[in-house]
């Protein structure tokens, strides 16, 4: 009898303990949900995808796979000779300037048309995440329209706009990218092509990156790298940089 009472007490205690643990787990779970819903990256990603209207943003052409070689060659010039560690590459569409989505892998069908946009991503020697894109549009006017929209504060968190130090007519944007990291972009249009070079400086938080001068260094870096792109027409380059 005494044993049975003891068992019942034990079961009651265990029941209470399970209820407490369940409560704690639920609180943690709720916290996680709140964190996932409210973190800057998610906000930025959803706001970007909702905000950029497809009617105002020109889309890249579609091209046969053989045309991608020339596009790859154009962006590979941005970080030549294995200076950075290439970690990803592939085709992209115009919205990549906001979404920062990963480039697409090759299509299963070798003959399928592909978007005329190509991106390469590297880890720079200083730890920065560097990206180069080329996007080919149907006309020069579309390429210029894209750059005008992309190099604006539209649909970007904490965006700041400025003229780039180089190449001619290039524009700089700093913003909080969809992963919540501060990023520096340079955009330029050349003929039917638009180019972007982006640098997300290594750092623990956007505030740290800004206060440590990381953003200023990123702009200096991408403006020089943009001079390595085809038809950049930079007048002066820092010592040691040749096109």
């Amino acid at each position: 009898m005494g044993d049975r009472d003891g068992d019942q007490d034990g079961r009651r205690r265990r029941g209470k303990w399970f209820a407490v643990r369940l409560g704690v787990l639920l609180v943690i779970l709720a916290g996680l949900v709140v964190f996932l819903v409210t973190r800057p990256g998610k906000q930025a990603q959803s706001s970007a995808s909702r905000c950029v209207p497809s009617t105002q943003l020109p889309e890249v052409r579609r091209v046969p796979p053989s045309a991608l070689g020339g596009l790859r060659e154009a962006v590979a010039r941005a970080l030549p000779q294995r200076v950075g560690r290439l970690y990803e590459e592939g085709t992209v569409r115009a919205a990549v300037a906001w979404t920062d989505e990963e480039p697409a892998p090759p299509a299963t069908s070798p003959g399928a048309l592909r978007p005329a946009g190509y991106e390469m991503r590297w880890w720079a020697p200083n730890g920065d995440d560097v990206v180069a894109d080329v996007l080919v549009f149907g006309s020069q006017a579309q390429a210029q329209r894209f750059v005008a929209v992309a190099a604006s504060s539209r649909c970007r968190l904490q965006a700041r706009i400025a003229a780039a130090s180089r190449p001619p007519e290039a524009r700089n944007v700093s913003w909080l990218n969809p992963d919540g990291a501060v990023q520096a972009d340079v955009f330029l249009a050349r003929g039917k092509r638009a180019y972007r070079i982006a640098d997300a400086p290594a750092g623990s938080s956007p505030g740290d990156v800004r206060s440590s001068g990381g953003l200023a260094r990123a702009f200096a870096t991408i403006d020089v790298l943009a001079c390595l792109l085809p038809s950049a027409h930079c007048q002066q380059l820092p010592n040691g940089v040749t096109t």
Binding site: L68, R82, R85, D100, P106, Y118, D128
Partner: protein, 256 residues
């Protein structure tokens, strides 16, 4: 036989080293914490169900399967097909002894070798398919390649091969072989080897790392192989993952 093709690639890789090293500029970069969405492989899926093989395997069927699966120029933007140098037969036999295979393959095929980039950016990618007697033969073959004994054997054969075929202007400082695993979405992992050779031009004071990856994905009684050669840094893992996924998808659409 993973290494037979790797031997060819290693040979191809170093052939242009004299011109390549003229522009050596920097050390490889580290891979720090990501500041934007990083490359992430999906978790390995449970082992795929057995591949149906309704008819007896023949050399002709294996060759047709390999042809349907292989890499094409469209899969490697900016690349052009290059002529593959022939591996001496003796060396291939020696490499075959490093694997655990007891019987020859039913058949298969190789893609052209797709090369792109110049100087230090030069890299090449190719694929191969080998059809063995059954699934168990494939498992045995791939498992042995990653054992310490298998790796030591490969290292020995590769060192001999590279030194024997070396351009007189090139010095091979060392050759190391390590196991390599590449996660493939929905198909578990491809396994294989990474060969790392330090090569240089005597007198130039420059040493460059040459990476040769040879990974194999089991697909029923077939091995889907991917080979990559690159200077300074290995072929991006993401690229290898995507190409293996692509080859597997083509295999699924083709009856074996």
């Amino acid at each position: 036989m993973l290494l037979g093709a790797a031997l060819v690639l290693a040979g191809c890789g170093k052939s242009n080293l004299v011109t390549n090293t003229a522009t050596v500029g920097s050390a490889p970069a580290p891979a720090p914490a990501p500041a934007r969405t990083a490359t992430t492989a999906k978790a390995p899926a449970p082992r795929a169900s057995t591949v149906p093989v309704p008819l007896p395997l023949t050399a002709a069927r294996a060759a047709a399967f390999a042809k349907a699966v292989e890499l094409t120029g469209a899969d490697v933007p900016g690349a052009h097909p290059a002529r593959r140098s022939k591996t001496p037969l003796a060396r291939e036999r020696e490499a075959a002894q490093c694997g655990g295979r007891t019987a020859g393959a039913v058949g298969g095929g190789r893609s052209p070798e797709f090369q792109r980039g110049g100087a230090l950016e030069r890299e090449s990618l190719s694929s191969g398919v080998e059809v063995l007697r059954d699934e168990k033969s494939v498992e045995r073959d791939l498992a042995y390649a990653q054992t310490p004994r298998g790796l030591r054997c490969y290292e020995r054969v590769l060192s001999r091969s590279l030194r024997a075929e070396a351009d007189p202007h090139i010095k091979i400082f060392d050759v190391r072989v390590a196991p390599l695993s590449v996660t493939v979405a929905g198909a578990g992992a491809a396994r294989g080897i990474r060969i790392l050779a330090h090569v240089g031009v005597p007198g130039a004071g420059v040493v460059v790392r040459l990476f040769v990856d040879a990974v194999s994905l089991p697909y029923g009684p077939a091995e889907i192989n991917l080979y990559g050669t690159s200077f300074v840094q290995p072929i991006a893992e993401r690229t290898e993952q995507e190409l293996l996924t692509l080859l597997r998808e083509r295999a699924r659409r083709q009856k074996l």
